[in-house]
Subunit: 203 residues, 2 copies
DNA sequence: GTCTATAAAGCGATAGAC
DNA sequence: GTCTATCGCTTTATAGAC
């Protein structure tokens, strides 16, 4: 078979979801894929190469699910829906989503100690914040970019925090989604009504 | 010396901050503590035992810095200040705070794959949410406990997300603190003005 | 209690047959 | 392309002297 490569990558994603990036053993991976250890080395130089390919594979696979109708209409209502969809997508109890979220969590955790991972993460993270900020910008009236970015940073950081708790098993996925939805609503409200809120407080 | 034990635990905290829980090697730890490897095994059964003790040690040490004036006045203003102090305490660029935050981050990341860690984390996490919820309850008017807990869950999850980004080095500590402060303000406002906000929107 | 020396195991990586 | 067998380093853990 010529897609033995893909079989191995899919197995790697499953093993990472079970043991983490740092817990992945070449032997366990080979067994999971149903091939010999040597074959893995034949297809992917070494362990680091396998990890690189697997994270790339996971990233590509994720895009298939996250990027939809990018050139769609830019009206507030659909942007708002897109924003919510985009942020809730990573909180789903499906094997593939779980694998992706787990891998990203491991990547983040590993980046604290591995400067090499830091780079890839910084790039991906910035793009992610930018994307959410842009969606926020289309939901309400024109606002300073810094405000949009700050709101996006809060939302994405919250998502990462909730995601970790979900994956640990101390926060049910439905509850996590609910908390995320409320946070989105609060940020949108805040951006939508920059000052009226204050008027209410004092009035 | 009888507090060789403590010396080792302090060294372990430093090594964990540098390499992570999963990156801790008994040899490096021994060198960091200035003792032999065998002595570490003498005082702490095995690697798992050392890790257990170290995480406990870190937790205890954290309490020394977080728990202050617990039986203080319960007026809204001081509760509000205490809430902010409590949540910003983990975002400080001091060696000890960094060690604690790093260790907690590793504990969370590890708990995704290790059921044994899950237990300790679930307990500590629940207490932490409860504490923040109680503080929130004293800031504003009486509210359903579920609302307070939800707000506390959002704030603590956000803190964890921001903390990870800070430790990775992609979010300056000052910026993280600023984002956290804004989020606290938003949650307090939300709880303080449960309905007026809606009136404003529709009015 | 503390050390040096060493056993035992785990794991990444390679050799070589098919 | 794929396998079996094995090497060699790293790391945990123990034995035994002081």
């Amino acid at each position: 078979m010529r897609d033995r490569r893909r079989t191995i990558l899919e197995a790697a994603a499953r093993v990472i979801a079970r043991r983490g990036v740092r817990g992945l053993r070449m032997e366990e991976l080979a067994a999971e894929a149903g091939v010999s250890k040597a074959l893995v080395y034949y297809h992917f130089e070494d362990r680091a190469g396998l990890l690189r390919s697997t994270l790339g594979f996971i990233g590509t696979r994720a895009e298939r699910f996250t990027r939809r109708d990018p050139p769609g209409p830019r009206d507030p209502a659909s942007s708002r829906r897109e924003l919510e969809r985009r942020l809730l997508l990573e909180l789903q109890d499906l094997p593939e989503v779980r694998e992706n979220s787990t891998a990203w969590g491991e990547l983040r955790a590993g980046a604290v100690f591995d400067p090499e991972l830091r780079e890839e993460l910084a790039r991906a993270g910035a793009g992610w914040v930018r994307e959410v900020a842009d969606l926020l910008g289309r939901v309400g009236p024109p606002l300073p970019d810094a405000d949009l970015v700050a709101a996006a940073e809060r939302l994405t950081a919250l998502l990462e925090g909730l995601s970790t708790r979900w994956l640990i098993g101390i926060l049910p996925v439905g509850h996590a989604r609910e908390l995320m939805r409320e946070a989105i609503a609060a940020e949108v409200r805040r951006l939508d009504l920059p000052d009226r809120r204050t008027v209410c407080v004092t009035g």
